[in-house]
């Protein structure tokens, strides 16, 4: 497993479709998040859904793909549109037991972003796992259920 982007771990080049740290595997649920963070209420829905899983101690993976990777970019300032930045809040969720993060690497690259551009997880929390398209289906399949948020 290589290192890319400081606290962010990536095994995207290994081809290993293992479940993300802290989540994934039999019995866990994957929340597939694809929409941009500030245009609609999807992010809020994600938080609410995640709260439910956490309350019932059910392991859950947040999989960020397409425009949803923008939810994790650090340094955004949406105050002008009456919003608060979501990236820190999302990254902090990684400190919760049973919550794992997967980020689709090509979605980042298509937007000119790198793992370094994302908000780093809290110290001690599981690192984000970066997955390439070729391994994404295996990552999805490692969960018992997949919910599109």
């Amino acid at each position: 497993m290589g290192q890319e982007g400081g606290a962010h771990a990536t095994d995207a080049d290994t081809g290993a479709p293992a479940p993300p740290g802290g989540a994934g595997g039999q019995g866990s649920t994957c929340l597939l998040i694809r929409k941009a963070p500030y245009g609609a209420s999807n992010a809020a829905e994600t938080f609410r859904t995640l709260q439910a899983f956490y309350a019932f101690e059910k392991p859950v993976t947040l999989l960020f793909m397409d425009d949803a990777v923008l939810s994790l970019v650090r340094g955004v300032d949406p105050a002008g549109i009456g919003m608060r930045p979501l990236s820190r809040a999302f990254a902090d969720l990684g400190a919760l037991p049973g919550v794992g993060f997967v980020v689709h690497l090509e979605s980042l690259e298509e937007r000119g972003l790198r793992p370094d551009d994302l908000e780093p997880p809290l110290e001690g929390a599981d690192a984000f796992r970066f997955v390439r398209t070729a391994d994404l289906e295996a990552t999805l399949a490692s969960h018992k259920a997949i919910i599109r948020v």
């Binding site: 694809r34 398209t133 999805l140 997949i146």
Partner: protein, 99 residues
């Protein structure tokens, strides 16, 4: 258990089909419902996407009722047309992912 990618939106209005087919591995299935059935139409600009995936070993299915309600009468070779019962069978037999 193989994955069943369920695509709903039109291939001309969203990238869902493109994404699903990028992610799909040989042996996986894609089910086109609602406006996504347009990709099953022979001659549709998006159909080559589906043809490439089928050549790579992805099985393609399209919902009969949605094809009929969009006047798609000529379905591309290799596309399996299913009814609602067939949809249920596919979901039961695979790991579904909705795009």
């Amino acid at each position: 258990m193989a994955t069943l990618h369920i695509v709903r939106r039109s291939p001309h209005m969203a990238r869902d089909l493109e994404r699903a087919l990028e992610v799909a591995r040989p042996g996986s299935h894609v089910l086109l419902v609602q406006d996504a059935v347009l990709a099953a139409a022979e001659g549709d600009a998006s159909h080559p996407l589906l043809e490439r995936a089928m050549r790579a070993g992805v099985a393609a299915h399209a919902l009969k009722e949605d094809l009929a309600s969009r006047a798609v009468t000529r379905v591309g070779k290799g596309v399996d047309v299913v009814d609602y019962d067939g949809w249920v069978d596919l979901v039961e037999a695979h790991q579904p992912v909705a795009w």
